[in-house]
């Protein structure tokens, strides 16, 4: 089953870490990524740019209207995602629980990815 792991954290939290903590965080991420590669579970993923780079589209007076970031006041943002193909939901949850952002007040959402295939009923 494919799951998308959405990484939510507080913008700028990495800047507040000490150099050692930062190195540790990146090393942890590297080691999880390597494990996913080795086990053949990695499907894809991206980190997202700072929320100040965001454009938001909403309807206004019946037309799509675009507004810019920054959203400095945002307490939490979607920082990135990774898609894994694991044998069980439990394994996907385990990967999410080890993601270091969780320890620093962030959160992970594990979402099942829809398939384009189906069976007649």
């Amino acid at each position: 089953m494919k799951y998308m792991l959405l990484i939510f954290n507080r913008p700028g939290f990495v800047e507040e870490l000490t150099e050692t903590e930062r190195q540790e965080l990146f090393a942890e991420v590297d080691s999880i990524m390597k494990e996913l590669d080795d086990r053949g579970e990695w499907v894809g993923g991206e980190g997202l740019a700072d929320p100040s780079q965001t454009k938001v589209v909403r309807e206004r007076d019946g037309l799509p209207a675009v507004t810019d970031g920054p959203f400095l006041e945002a307490k939490e943002h979607l920082a990135g995602y990774l898609t894994v193909d694991t044998e069980t939901l439990e394994r996907a949850v385990e990967i999410a629980s080890r993601w270091p952002d969780v320890r620093y007040g962030g959160r992970m959402e594990v979402r099942a990815v829809m398939e384009a295939a189906g069976t007649e009923m």
Partner: protein
């Protein structure tokens, strides 16, 4: 992909034969499998350009052996084995049986390989990937595309599976007689999984997966040729043929799912139905009925009805009851409830479904809600049917199923 020379079919057929010979000569399934894969890739590039060699199997054996030698030569830690391989003259492959000639070992090798790839130490997804590569002769890239993962990821999964087999110390040979029945069940399950992966695929990016159906049928056919006295192998082949016969009728424009009762039955594949029906009819005369045979028999009863209202539901019900006895499983009970509803009315079906309510294996499963919705709709309880369709739509991870269930729910709006 165009393949005027039939190169791909030929390679897939030769793949397990070449691998079998190589493993017998050199041991090391792991390394031999890589070498054969490389030889297949080389052939897939060269043969369409330069023509199929006169002795295609000898060609593949020579190239694979050379790759194996190169591989071992580059690993200094394996010097003794290198000596053993180097002492063997690759040209000697032509002194073996001519390609196309039936070598007694070939047929057994395919079976041995299937048993090895479906080793109990591996998880089903790994068994599937390894079987497709080592027995099916598919490339890692093809398997990766079929399962919609990056090629490196699939490659890693396959090499891990091989490492795992190696670590169990499994040998290249038939499993002991006492384990064979159990191991054959695992092989059939893997073939069934491959079939289903392909069968549920409908359109768009999933087309690569649809090829898996044909591959599963091809491998099961090969297995049936080797074990024609096994009723379950015959049953599985029949089930695949009878199910795949509905392919053209089961989806509408945009991949929309069409339920069995609403399918245009003139679009069912009559030849596949005839073959599947003959297979299962024959098997049931001499084999004790196992789960695949019973499912095939049910599919055959559906297939013989020219119109949905001609379906022999009492017979389907008794087959499901038999299946429940042979292989009790809540998914079987779900189908039994549908058949029961057709024979005794929707309330009887709903009562049977209620027995599954505490069953953890299906609670919250979209199929349970979907069947319940269907029976509630038949019973005229529109409001509850709509809720059950919606619950099923939320629970499924399949887009076409979700669309189908949502449209059933929407169809009930304002009718209660």
């Amino acid at each position: 992909m165009t393949d005027p020379l039939g190169v791909e079919d030929l390679l897939r057929e030769l793949a397990p034969q070449v691998l079998g010979v190589l493993v017998r000569r050199h041991g090391a399934f792991d390394a031999c499998e890589d070498a054969v894969q490389e030889a297949l890739l080389a052939a897939a590039l060269q043969w369409p350009e330069e023509g199929v060699p006169e002795k295609p199997r000898g060609w593949l054996l020579t190239v694979a052996t050379r790759r194996l030698t190169d591989q071992w030569r580059s690993e200094s830690a394996r010097r003794d084995r290198e000596a053993a391989v180097a002492a063997w003259d690759p040209a000697a492959s032509s002194s073996g049986p001519e390609p196309g000639e039936d070598q007694p070992g070939d047929r057994d090798d395919t079976l041995t390989l299937l048993f090895l790839c479906c080793h109990p130490a591996l998880s089903p997804p790994s068994q599937v990937a390894l079987t497709l590569r080592a027995v099916g002769g598919l490339t890692t890239g093809q398997i990766a595309r079929a399962f919609l993962v990056p090629e490196t990821t699939m490659g890693q999964r396959i090499s891990r599976a091989k490492q795992k087999i190696k670590s169990t110390g499994a040998r290249f040979g038939m499993p002991p007689a006492g384990e064979r029945a159990e191991r054959l069940r695992a092989v059939l399950h893997v073939l069934y999984l491959i079939f289903n992966e392909g069968y549920t695929a409908s359109s768009g990016p999933d087309l690569h997966r649809a090829d898996l159906t044909a591959e599963a049928i091809r491998l099961t056919r090969a297995l049936h040729a080797l074990l024609d006295g096994d009723g379950e192998v015959a049953g599985l082949l029949a089930l695949m043929l009878l199910t795949d016969a509905r392919r053209a009728a089961r989806t509408g424009p945009g991949g929309l799912l069409i339920p069995l009762t609403e399918q245009d039955r003139t679009r069912w594949d009559a030849a596949a139905i005839a073959e599947g029906t003959a297979l299962i009819t024959d098997a049931l005369t001499w084999s004790p009925p196992g789960p695949y045979q019973l499912q095939a028999a049910i599919a055959a009863v559906h297939a013989e009805a020219a119109r949905p209202q001609d379906t022999d539901w009492p017979q389907i019900l008794s087959l499901y009851r038999l299946l429940t006895r042979v292989a009790p499983n809540p998914m079987v009970t779900l189908n039994e409830a549908v058949a029961l509803a057709m024979v005794r009315g929707p309330r009887a079906g709903l009562d049977l479904l209620a027995t599954l309510d505490g069953d953890e294996r299906v609670s919250g499963h979209h199929r349970l809600d979907a069947v319940r919705a269907h029976l509630l709709e038949k019973a005229g309880d529109t409001g509850a049917a709509r809720e059950a369709y919606r619950a099923a739509a939320r629970a499924t991870t399949s887009l076409p199923e979700k669309r189908y269930l949502e449209s059933r729910a929407a169809g009930l709006n304002g009718t209660d």
